[in-house]
Amino acid sequence: MSITEIQFQAQTVESAPEQAIQGRSQWQLTWRRLRSDRVAVGSVVVILIVAICAIIAPVFAALTGHPVDQEYPNTGWTLQGLPVGPMTHGFLLGTDSQARDLIVRIAYGARISLFVGISTTFVATLAGVTIGMISGYFGGGVDAVLARFIDAVLAFPFIVLALSLAAVFGPSLTIVLVVITFFSWAGISRVVRGQTLSIKEKEYIEAARSLGAGPWRIMFIDILPNLMAPVLVLATLSIPAAIVFEATLSYLGLGIQLPTPSWGNMLADAQNDFQVAWWYLLFPALALLITTLAFNLLGDGVRDAMDPRTERIFAAASGRRGRRKRRRVTPIDVLSDPAQPTLGGPA
């Protein structure tokens, strides 16, 4: 380049600061992509509906006139003492084996599912992120111990712990909360640890250390913001895993006990009469499936919104513009897969 060319370039660039375009933050971009993803939006709608049903469950009882635990042997049973089907005698979805109104019980069951799903995920995420960051950042002996502990928890058969605790302390909601939280944090921790290990090597972390920033400040102010994306995806996907976990535990009789309605224990009860009362099996199952599917699709949508380069097979089907960029699946994709059993517990 000649001298004049260099000078010209310099001048163009010197004026650049004034002309810098207003960029958008990562979160704003993610939000916009999410908003345009019809599947994700639909999932949010479904989740909101379920949540509303859970919150206003007493309204269901009031509207139908059937409290959740009330048995109606006269109207709710057939002459042979079997549950009645949908749309009979004012029971919208039929009754259960004890002639209780099914739709009211399903609504109350939603309360348990959502409460357990969200609260255990919240605690597990806090614990998982903290432990993962500590393990990844400090390395050395701390990491050696913590990483093995995380692996041990991940590989541990949940059923064994659940059975043991239920045997010794009796089945209850507390056991459910403890067991689910205990098995959920490890999956998050493992991912966070991996991410921390790689982020730790970045130059801006070195810069922070050269400024004199202490390890805790670096972890929470420099590393954590870079973790938010995968953590958010994992947390969103932990919720359906926790809901399924609770349903399974209650189904086996290790969790919520009848007459308190949980979708899991309702399905356990329904199994006995499934040949004659298909609605008792089908409707709670559908409720569970729809809720789980909605959260999984939402998690998928959040992950795609954060990283739009992911190969999207459903692009055409769900109305998104089908950008077919082939791209390598990175470990974070594999690990933040909704299908990943790294979250522990049953599926």
Binding site: V13, P17, S210
Partner: protein, 363 residues
């Protein structure tokens, strides 16, 4: 320890501090940094060492710029990080204003961190992409608790203006800035606490040529305005020539040559320095055609197993058997000023044309 013993040590330290040449800001004495390589079977043993820095001594004077040059892998970045306290040193000393800051704990090092700052090479990697620029530049204030709230914001915006950024972009993310601007952000961050020493680790290597000039000019201005001292690391000799007062040339963990800029550039004594100078692109194409390039054969040897004797002897056009046996001492050669040191058994003489080791520049 006895009372008298304690007093002796204290007074010795005081004496040393008094004898300290106040002109010298940083002194590095025989710094050695080895990285152990672990291998072996069930129990991992140390089976080798990466000899990244192998006995380096240098001095940086107040208000001046020491340029540190060398190829990739010669240990200059490692050396810089040792001085900045980011790495533990294997042996040797680092003295800052007479005080020993070698291998201090984080807490002990903290007050020195206000005086020693660093600018990094990669404008894209050295700024946290998830933090706003104002927060990044304001970090030193927060960490050292010198300013907060509105006061800090004001200080940050002043800094932004000083380095040529628009202070209204306080809340933007690094991604919204160009490479050159990001380096300015890095400069602002380093400048925040008015340090005495700024270590610049190849601050312009990743920038376009035209931007390089801007950033270098900025650094020079700041040095004048704030009386800064720079340790400037680069691999581009022309850049180093532009900014430095004195220059040290590193090869494979050791200093090959050092001295005042003009001494080293105009009368390079070490064959390695001469080779580097001959390879630097010249602005005038005619002069470049006439200049004869000295081509070095082979790759840089591995720092795990450095050559015996003089480390450069495997690639040196002037190497003789002595070079492989005995390591040359870093000393002033005959006819050179006392501060122009060379580590070579057969230094380049004035006017000598180095025989090309292999292959000519086929023009």
């Amino acid at each position: 320890m006895s009372e008298t013993g304690n007093r002796d040590i204290a007074s010795a330290a005081r004496l040393e501090a008094e004898l300290w040449d106040d002109d010298v800001l940083v002194s590095v004495e025989n710094l050695v940094k080895y990285y152990p390589i672990r291998g072996g079977g069930i129990i991992s043993r140390t089976i080798g060492q990466v000899q990244a820095v192998d006995g380096v001594s240098l001095v940086v004077r107040r208000g001046q710029t020491l340029g540190l040059v060398g190829e990739t892998g010669c240990g200059k970045s490692t050396l810089a990080r040792c001085i900045a306290g980011l790495f533990q040193v294997t042996s040797g000393r680092i003295l800052f204003e007479g005080r020993d800051i070698t291998n201090l704990s984080r807490r002990q090092m903290q007050p020195f961190r206000r005086e020693i700052q660093m600018i990094f090479q990669d404008p894209y990697g050295s700024l946290n992409p998830r933090r706003r620029v104002g927060s990044i530049i304001g970090d030193p204030f927060t960490v050292h608790k010198t300013a907060s709230g509105a006061q800090r914001k004001r200080a940050v915006q002043e800094l932004m203006e000083r380095v040529g950024l628009n202070p209204e972009h306080y809340n933007r993310f690094p991604a919204e800035f160009s490479g050159g601007q990001r380096q300015r952000i890095g400069v602002a961050r380093a400048l925040a606490l008015r340090p005495k020493l700024i270590i610049c680790d190849e601050p312009v290597s990743a920038l376009d040529v035209s931007i390089q000039a801007q950033v270098l000019n900025l650094l020079a201005d700041l040095q004048d305005d704030f009386g800064l001292t720079y340790l400037f690391i680069a691999h581009d000799l022309e850049v180093v020539r532009h900014v430095s007062h004195s220059v040290s040339v590193m090869y494979l963990g050791k200093i090959a040559e050092q001295g005042l800029k003009n001494d080293v550039y105009d009368s390079a004594r070490h064959p390695y320095t001469a080779a580097l100078l001959s390879a630097a692109p010249a602005a005038d194409p005619n002069a470049a055609a006439q200049r004869q390039r000295i081509l070095l054969t082979g790759d840089v040897p591995s720092p795990v197993n450095p050559p015996s004797g003089c480390r450069f002897h495997t690639r040196c056009p002037k190497a003789q058997s002595l070079c492989g046996e005995q390591e040359p001492v870093l000393e002033a050669k005959a006819g050179d000023p006392a501060n122009h040191l060379t580590a070579c058994h057969f230094p380049v003489q004035a006017g000598e044309q180095l025989a090309r080791a292999a292959g000519r520049d086929q023009r």
